[in-house]
Symmetry: C2
């Protein structure tokens, strides 16, 4: 479905008169970044000139204003280009707030009271599944162990899983080698792309299972290539290799389709989320019993605030969260949300892991650190969204020298 | 939800070397039109320089290329700004195709074979509800009466309903007067906005029902203002006035929510669609038994091709289509789809009507003609999307003289 990605980002920098900065980004896979930039520019008027104290005291108020804007919402509502732009700006405000507080975002969030966290969420369309009262109760249940879990997180990190071995196009030897290396590196869950050709998938799953043995989990990812019936038929052919989850078996909009796939492929789990465009969709995926793994993404929805809602919905329904990451900066940003979830919401890392892909981290000032199959908790203030100035200068579109060189070539 | 609309449009003009032109537009309510324009510009490269003969021979191929673009689709997929931009371009190609054929679009479509129509639709995510085979069978069932229905349509037109009386903010006398005028004008269905204040709604519904009597249908429209529970509670208070449908009771993404509302407010019908972003969502609304009235919109989804899919899904599930219109050009465009539906798909106008709002038609070269509560069938070639050149010159943003005058004021 996505044969030629050209990983890119619309990059947001908030500058303040006092000198502090806040950073956000919207990941893209190439063409269309200019549309996202246009959307950020359109929404920026709600941030530029605002009081820093007011913004960071209540990022949820900004989120409501931007997402609820009576004219812009016609282009959504709460989905696609304009929603992702709002999310990028909201995330930049949270980055600024965490920098000002001198804390990594996960720790800033984990230090907030249940009431303050719940006040950051727009419950308008969620109350049939989760009320403010239930959300406060969920968070109160997690208050007592917060310090112990913070200590554990700082000592041991958070589980990671790797997609490195599994891209389509690697030859069989490379696949087997990368699978073994992943296990040697400490990963307990790896992921393979599927859906190109059934015979290839059968052969590749066999090779991977052979390489990692029976105990390592192998997830598979179809990137939305199938209809509902195809997904079920295809996965039944792969079931003999004990795949752990099937990710994006069909359209991310197809809640009822995911529920049907889940019925049809059990005991294989169903995972989705990187393209699920808002909390209303996650709410229904959970209500419909359509998924076993919630894959939040830091840059798809309306920022930290909407992801708080999604984490609480997942907790209410008892479904683990395994964030989507990779791309540009997605690992850096989303780790904060998963770690907050562990410390203050779910209280557990069982059956949870953050996706990890080992590329493009060198462009970030505070890159993720992954060791022995675990993300180490970031300790620098902010949401880890700041890019290295030299990278921005070199790769800025269209005037960065790397673009000039590519165009000349 | 939308207190200050500033009706606008991103306007698409396809120019050909032979001189023929094709027109499309994406309706917006003001701010954000520039984002839509950026999206159209990004996608335009797939049209500019292409062979006119190839484009008009298979608009579905263009639709698949644009909607399936492996990089752009990250910003959707199939939703929001980029999807509406694709729809605007696809509609412009259909407009061009119909002009070249010398037929109004409804008639061009109604003259195509079932197989040719079905080939224009992307069934990837739809087959669990509607297969190509079933779609062909549905269309074949409608072939025999096409000529008779075409004659009827040209003679009698297609039912309209009016939202003119029902905007929030009119005083009670004006509401009563406009309701009576609508009945005098031949409308059998009118629509009122609700959701601001319950006591006001109760009073206004009482006035409207008193004004039109028991036989005229009164639909109400909440513009997504409620959560699921609120929608049910509010509508139960209005049920005594026999509202015909409740439109957009909650988030357009909330399929399961609409199903719950439908259960909760029966026998009041549930209608939605103007913000339903693609055929996968309509498919589920129908599968879940979540709505009684499908409200297609000409500019929300990926153009004529996706609306063909939605019309066929509605026919498969036996749910009537009452298109959303108003805004800028929505009446002009969508009438073609409803009339095609009557001639070639559903074969009926029972319980069907196209929304009508009497403004901004003067900016179109081939404006809708509504008389005695019915849309008269357009007979000029095309999709009626062409704007009057003087209007474009006067209102073009930001350099049109009307904008200069408004800015100066």
């Amino acid at each position: 479905m996505n044969p030629f990605p050209d990983y890119s980002a619309a990059y947001v920098v908030l500058r303040t008169t006092a000198g502090a900065e806040g950073f956000g980004l919207i990941f893209t896979v190439g063409r269309g970044t200019e549309i996202e930039v246009a959307a950020v520019r359109s929404l920026a008027g709600m941030v530029v000139g605002a009081s820093v104290e007011e913004l960071i005291a209540d990022p949820g108020a900004l989120a409501r204003r931007m997402i609820g804007d009576s004219q812009i919402r016609w282009l959504g509502p709460e989905k696609g280009v304009v929603h992702m732009a709002a999310g990028g700006l909201v995330n930049a405000v949270w980055d600024l707030a965490a920098r000002r507080a001198g804390k990594p975002l996960w720790q800033l969030l984990a230090g907030m009271t249940p009431e303050a966290l719940v006040a950051q969420i727009d419950f308008r369309y969620l109350r049939d599944a989760l009320t403010e009262h239930e959300a406060v109760a969920l968070l109160r249940g997690g208050v007592s162990g917060r310090e112990e879990r913070t200590r554990l997180l700082l000592e041991e990190g958070y589980p990671a899983y790797t997609t490195t071995p599994g891209w389509l196009g690697y030859d069989d030897d490379k696949l087997a080698r990368l699978c073994k290396e992943a296990v040697d590196d400490g990963y307990e869950l790896i992921k393979l792309k599927v859906g190109g050709d059934l015979a290839d998938d059968v052969r590749r799953m066999g090779i991977a299972r052979q390489a990692v043995g029976p105990k390592i989990r192998i997830a598979v990812d179809a990137n939305q290539i199938w209809g509902v019936g195809e997904a079920i038929a295809w996965m039944r052919e792969l079931r003999v290799f004990d795949p752990y989850w099937i990710e994006e078996p069909t359209s991310p909009d197809d809640i009822l389709g995911h529920a049907a796939v889940r019925q049809g492929v059990a005991p294989v789990l169903v995972a989705t989320g990187e393209h699920v465009h808002n909390a209303v969709m996650f709410k229904q995926l959970l209500q419909a019993g359509a998924l076993d793994v919630v894959q939040i993404d830091a840059c798809r929805v309306g920022g930290v605030n909407e992801n708080l809602a999604i984490l609480l919905l997942a907790a209410k329904f008892g479904v683990p969260v395994c964030p989507h990451a990779g791309g540009v900066g997605l690992c850096e940003l989303v780790q904060h949300l998963a770690m907050f979830d562990f410390v203050a919401v779910s209280g557990s890392t069982d059956n949870r892991a953050i996706e990890y892909v080992d590329h493009l981290h060198e462009h970030f000032v505070d890159p993720v650190r992954v060791s022995a199959g675990r993300y180490l908790a970031p300790t620098a203030p902010g949401m880890s969204a700041e890019m290295v100035a030299g990278s921005v200068a070199a790769y800025r579109f269209p005037d960065g020298p790397e673009w000039a060189a590519a165009t000349a070539a």
